[in-house]
Symmetry: C2
Subunit: 329 residues, 2 copies
């Protein structure tokens, strides 16, 4: 069976569309010494990828038209010329959106624990979980009894962050798009409340909240509406700004003065720069999952040909939890 790859077809002019991606045949090429051939089981679709799609770098990498899309994946080694990886090993790492690909074995992490659901390595027990944990505990340094507002509340990171904060003894106010997502956050994720940013009374509902921490995944009008709901000396863990990745969009702010007037710190962060805390994060996440306190929804599309439209669907807020592409075995 011929291998296929999803490439960026063109630089999007405005909002990203399925037509910005193209499925093409590809030759996986030979393995050099130290290489492995990997068949992805699940490919991770993340909002930050749109930064690279628009041509701006994340960890030094941007996508040029014609290039293969590249994201985190979990998959199986199907052939190995690497000393410590064998056929059948479950591995985690960066990979192209491709049916099979060759990569240096040293760039992959071999997963010692064989989960029933390997997709969890890309969500709650993977970098999404670690990202949320670090933002909450190392950046915002949230304390029991504090109030957290989290945007993108039913997204991967937002949902994990809210559940971790509940487990930590905090009050959690989610923000999501639409009444179904809000109901999900309250009923399934256990948030104290969840506000619909499409509700005309949204900004009004946030006033007087006096939250000590805001975990930001969105930016734009949501950020502007949240600022009046933050307490003096609140901390904003700036994890994502999906509303801003298309830089052709202009954002209108009325409340930025509150950063100064309430002395609110804005703290972006990079997971790779907190490597010393990844093990603690994983241990706490695993404990939360075991205890049944932390779960993660997965929105799974099937086959590489669905990847572009699944990615666009996630950006449009139509997915719940972690968006993944599942490849045929």
């Amino acid at each position: 069976m011929a291998d296929t790859v999803v490439r960026l077809a063109r630089r999007p002019a405005g909002a990203i569309m399925p037509e910005d991606f193209v499925l093409a045949p590809v030759d996986v090429g030979p393995l050099a010494e130290g290489d492995v051939l990997v068949r992805p089981a699940f490919i991770s679709l993340d909002p930050y990828l749109s930064i690279q799609v628009y041509g701006r770098p994340v960890r030094g990498v941007a996508f040029a038209p014609g290039q293969a899309m590249l994201s985190r994946m979990v998959g199986r080694v199907v052939e190995s010329r690497h000393a410590s990886l064998r056929e059948g090993d479950l591995v985690l790492g960066m990979g192209p959106w491709q049916s099979r690909f060759v990569v240096a074995g040293s760039a992959l992490e071999r997963l010692e624990i064989q989960l029933d659901r390997p997709e969890l390595h890309l969500s709650v027990l993977g970098s999404s979980g670690i990202t949320g944990w670090l933002g909450l505990h190392r950046i915002a340094r949230i304390q029991p009894g504090e109030t957290l507002i989290v945007s993108g509340a039913t997204g991967t990171i937002g949902s994990i962050v809210g559940q971790l904060a509940k487990r930590h003894g905090c009050r959690v106010i989610g923000i999501a798009g639409g009444p179904q997502k809000c109901a999900h956050a309250r009923e399934k994720l256990g948030f104290d409340t969840c506000l619909d940013h499409r509700d005309p009374a949204f900004a009004e509902r946030l006033r007087g909240t006096e939250a000590q921490v805001y975990f930001e995944n969105v930016g734009g009008a949501v950020l502007d509406a949240v600022l009046p709901g933050l307490a003096e000396h609140a901390r904003i863990a700036l994890c994502g700004m999906v509303a801003h990745y298309d830089t052709a969009r202009e954002h209108r702010f009325h409340n930025l003065h509150l950063l100064l007037e309430k002395a609110i710190d804005v703290k972006p962060y990079r997971v790779s720069e907190h490597a010393g805390h990844h093990a603690a994060a994983m241990a706490d996440l695993a404990a939360g999952v075991s205890a049944g306190d932390v779960m993660c929804d997965h929105t799974i599309s099937r086959g590489l040909d669905s990847a572009g439209s699944a990615f666009v669907s996630m950006l449009a807020g139509k997915s719940l939890g972690k968006s993944l592409v599942k490849l045929d075995e």
Copy 2:
């Protein structure tokens, strides 16, 4: 001679105008035990006062229409019922915009050093100097060899910050409104360069600057234009946002995503919360002034009846350095 006071006449609807203030006769009242009667020599006009004029609190105080304007002043004790203050003492503290006023002596600081120019206690050797020093050294923690961008470059704090940074071995890029101010920053304040934010090529000139620190006094379109000129992990000391104090104004941003993509910390701060470093700041400022490395311009208007229009003039960017009202002896 009857005493007079400048009151806030009304809540401004948009930009603050001289008509928003009114000069009125006032009775200074009797002195209780512990009180002093003070005649201000200089009253400080500061951008942050407009936050209070618009009705929002600073350090718990906002101005209601009919209330006296209140700011920092340096003046002389003309009558005392306080044990450790005597007639003729030079004092520093908060006071109404008033020809003479009664205040608890305990609320004032007696100035032991009698400067030839007491107005310096309100500028480079006072809270403006301390504010700049703290932002640079405690908040941004600037290092020799780094590049600083500072907005409001010819304002009190901006001009002091730039000179302190030069003295510390940094490259300094000022931002000011108009070619005269920019020439002043380069020629008199010794900045490496100064960019005119009214220049159509302003944003373009900032690109590629790769500054490690941005000292922010302005916000709005200036902030948006500076973001592309900041380096990875740059620090923004958020000292003022004069463009935002009139909250009826809307601000359009295109570049806020760079906060995330470059991991730029936004750090507002309050001088009162760093009291342990005020003495070090004062010592360094005094050394800089003595060495001739740090100076401050003063734009002085005469008489209380000029206070409202002088304040508006400062907000419109027409002053240089510290704006003060000098009262008749």
